[in-house]
């Protein structure tokens, strides 16, 4: 009799199952619009030229070893990463009230932040404090906060399916009605999965309510630079909230904007009221890190740190980021144009209004099923497509497939 006889088979994580199914499909025109990783116009993964260059430098540097990083990570990485989010001239950084915790990707940064909040936010033991995530949101947000011990995870209105845009009224209403001190997970830019971001005016309204209702700001920033091609523009919301005096967390990922997916490079930026608070916060973050992974992996952090801390490499990186952002913008333009040319029912403006890697097409689950089964175009059941999966070579086929799905299936 095994101790584990009662362990149930867990369902596979949807986005990875999609890719697995895609791999097994032998159809010559198959297209993978699932998992969020950048692809070139040849549908290949792209290791950024600046990353290749820096990796070579690292391998050739005999003075480097594989010793443990400090618990909170590589110091030069942490400071450079926080600077990217908050800006070189950030008053908060000048005031010495910004710290970073190097983490295993954006996921790791979210998890460390969540664990900290559960223990220390607003008095100890926050298992009952509500955590609000957007409807819809990246599916792992739920898991991260749940496993960190929060028992009350709630949706806040975000996506308006009817108008295919932001449900600002619903969002603001949820903010007004949320219990004081609730935690809100905000997407800094390039909302996943909808690609729909608040405008600057809308962010201002959101911030006003959050400040008044004492709601905690937890930014998830996985696409800085990737969304618009401009680091500043993509960090506007974060910087605005900081300038409004919020203490906040930013979970940063360098998976997409550095193409360093598998090296797990992330940073939890902590903006506190003052250095004294920051010091105590970081000391408790250390304890959380110590029982989760002890200290973070060095390779990815070294690559990012070297790049961000060298003016020349930084510029080269910025160019690489713009290359990716521009290709995505091009695919958005072309997809919308082709759907309009085909006369596909509905409006398709949202494709170019949305931003970042993803687009919420508005396709229904049955239409999605049609796309996958009949056309071998793989996308998430939510109708989310990864724009990076589109290329000049497959975009006609995809547009045609969407056209068919919309005209043939409800």
């Amino acid at each position: 009799m095994s101790l584990f006889s009662d362990v149930p088979q867990a369902p596979p994580v949807a986005v990875f199952k999609l890719t697995a199914d895609f791999r097994e499909d032998s159809h010559p025109q198959k297209v993978n619009l699932g998992v969020g990783a950048y692809r070139t116009d040849d549908c290949q993964p792209w290791v950024l030229p600046v990353v290749k260059k820096v990796e070579r430098l690292i391998v050739e540097d005999e003075s480097l070893n594989h010793e443990y990083l400090p618990i909170l990570g590589l110091p030069e990485f942490r400071s450079a990463a926080s600077k990217v989010a908050l800006g070189d001239d950030s008053p908060a950084i000048k005031e010495n009230r910004v710290g970073g915790v190097q983490a295993l990707g954006g996921t790791g940064a979210l998890r460390v932040g969540a664990e900290f909040l559960r223990r220390w936010y607003n008095g100890v033991n926050n298992t009952a404090t509500p955590v609000y995530v957007s409807a819809p949101t990246w599916e792992n947000h739920n898991g991260v906060f749940t496993d960190a011990g929060f028992k009350d995870i709630r949706p806040y209105h975000y996506w308006d399916a009817a108008k295919r845009g932001l449900d600002l009224a619903g969002f603001l209403d949820d903010l007004e009605k949320a219990p004081e001190y609730s935690v809100f997970v905000l997407h800094a830019c390039a909302h996943n999965p909808t690609g729909t971001d608040p405008t600057q005016e809308e962010w201002k309204q959101i911030a006003e309510v959050m400040k008044r209702r004492k709601l905690f700001v937890f930014f998830d920033s996985a696409y800085q630079g990737f969304a618009s091609g401009s680091l500043e523009k993509d960090a506007w919301a974060i910087r605005f909230f900081v300038s409004e005096g919020f203490e906040l967390f930013v979970a940063q990922s360098f998976s997409k904007n550095f193409g360093l997916y598998n090296e797990r490079v992330g940073n939890l930026t902590v903006v506190a009221k003052d250095n004294e608070n920051l010091t105590r916060i970081l000391s408790q973050m250390e304890k959380i890190v110590r029982t989760t992974w002890s200290n973070p992996p060095s390779q990815g952090a070294r690559i990012v740190s070297k790049t961000l801390n060298s003016a020349e490499l930084f510029d080269e990186w910025y160019g690489n980021v713009k290359t990716m952002a521009d290709r995505v913008l091009l695919m958005r333009d072309q997809l919308k144009a082709k759907l309009q040319a085909l006369g596909t029912p509905g409006t398709w403006d949202h494709i170019t209004q949305q931003i970042g890697m993803f687009s919420f097409t508005g396709l229904t689950p049955t239409q999605v099923e049609y796309m996958i089964k009949e056309k071998h175009v793989y996308l998430m059941a939510s109708g989310r497509i990864n724009m990076c999966g589109l290329t000049t070579k497959n975009i006609d086929y995809v547009a045609q497939s969407i056209h068919e799905a919309v005209t043939k299936v409800q």
Partner: protein, 428 residues
């Protein structure tokens, strides 16, 4: 008054006492109630060491290997593997949640042995983890979620300092069984058997596979056999922590003997492995977590649940270190080179043990230091008391943990004499 949030409490305190009014700056922060966390006892030692300006200072705190010049040692097999990998120009796509397949396979083979029936039958699952800590944490989380038995995890007394908080944060409770005998600086076999015989059925017992941390005291094989029998009789769930395979004796098969014996005896174990020390891949965070299941079907179910656990912690593991380790393990020349280098590291440590004892004798110490030679692996439980440790640090700039543990890897032929002098000075 309704129960207040912490910043409201501080605000109220400020109105009660003017001196507490200075907290009003804090009161406008969410974090006024966050206490200063104590420095990590082990990693904190290195940080204190770095601040010391004494040229004779010695860092005998954290267990990272040093060569005879006291320098970090990057193994040649690692450098060679890195060159091979660099030439392949691989992409950086996400690994699966469970990690690099070729690493997982090689990692399991290393621990269980090539002839393992478990591997042939496919009734185990190995996932890549964030080194040993990550492995223990995933295992602890798995137990907390799925183990139907008691919440108690029994650790040897003493154990690695981080075991307790890891299991605790995962939601398990900690108990202990006797292990170290301070009167002999050796294994308290009788005490261990007595305590283990009283552990409630289905509890989890954690065993250090080899090179016990912090004591360096390992059971002999006959003793392991008795422990295995008793653990089976008590129907306990075994969790092995193997962070030093190869490092203890210099021989990877010898160091995995206990793990393999338990499996052969029918224990379906949990196993954490680290490649931090034996491959010198500390900062790359290379480890594995294995569960030996009843059959392949169960292994599949267990695997699916491990992924569900891992995804909300870090999604998927880092590539670099696992790729290096897999390359070494799966490339015959590199594997041979690695075995030589591990042997070399273990031998240097054994030599330092011998030289330390010789040095202490030379200083005229009247104590019995045989345990320094008998103990195995990176660490030595000197038997020194906290006050003596404090003197070693304050007067001699010898940095070590308060429990009297020294990392032999930090000892060199150049400083072993000084260390003997210092230890003798505080213990005579």
């Amino acid at each position: 008054m309704a129960l207040l949030k912490s910043n409201k409490i501080i605000y109220c305190l400020g109105t009660i006492s003017p001196s507490l009014g200075v907290l009003s700056a804090r009161s406008s922060s969410w974090w006024g109630g966050v206490q200063m966390g104590p420095p990590d006892p082990i990693l904190g030692v290195t940080e204190a060491f770095k601040r010391d300006t004494n040229p004779k200072k010695m860092n005998l705190g954290v267990g990272a290997y040093r060569d005879d010049q006291g320098k970090p040692f990057v193994l040649s097999c690692v450098r060679k593997a890195e060159a091979i990998i660099a030439a392949k120009q691989l992409d950086k796509e996400y690994l699966p949640i469970g990690g690099l397949g070729e690493f997982n396979k090689a990692c399991a083979q290393l621990a269980l042995g090539d002839a393992s029936e478990v591997l042939k039958s496919g009734r185990s699952i190995t996932v890549q983890t964030i080194s040993g800590t990550g492995s223990l944490r995933v295992g602890a989380n798995f137990l907390a979620r799925f183990h139907a038995g008691p919440r108690d995890v029994y650790l040897p007394k003493p154990s690695w300092g981080n075991h307790t908080p890891i299991f605790r944060d995962a939601g398990m409770q900690l108990k202990a069984y006797r292990y170290y005998d301070p009167s002999t600086c050796g294994f308290d076999f009788k005490g261990a058997l007595e305590d283990i015989s009283k552990i409630p059925e289905q509890s989890v017992i954690l065993l250090h596979a080899c090179a016990h941390n912090p004591t360096g005291v390992d059971p002999r094989s006959e003793q392991w056999k008795e422990i295995a029998d008793l653990v089976k009789k008590r129907n306990l769930l075994v969790f092995f922590d193997m962070a030093y395979q190869g490092f203890a004796s210099g021989d990877i098969d010898r160091d995995a003997w206990a793990v393999r014996h338990f499996i052969e005896q029918g224990h379906n174990i949990l196993l954490s492995q680290s490649f931090a020390k034996n491959m010198g891949l500390y900062g790359e965070r290379v480890g594995g977590f294995t569960i030996v299941c009843k059959d392949a079907e169960e292994a599949k179910r267990v695997e699916s649940q491990l992924k569900i656990l891992i995804r909300p912690i870090y999604s998927n593991p880092p590539m670099n270190g696992a790729r290096i380790a897999a390359t070494i393990l799966n490339t015959p020349e590199l594997r041979s080179l690695w075995l030589e280098e591990v042997h070399g590291m273990a031998n240097r440590i054994i030599k330092m043990r011998e030289q330390l004892v010789a040095g202490l004798k030379k200083q005229g110490s009247s104590h019995n230091w045989q345990h320094v030679i008998d103990q195995i692996g990176m660490f030595c439980f000197t038997g020194l008391k906290p006050e003596q440790v404090e003197r070693l640090t304050n007067e001699f700039s010898v940095y070590m943990t308060k429990d009297g543990r020294i990392s032999m890897a930090g000892v060199t032929s150049g400083n072993v004499g000084y260390l003997a002098e210092a230890i003798h000075a505080v213990s005579k």
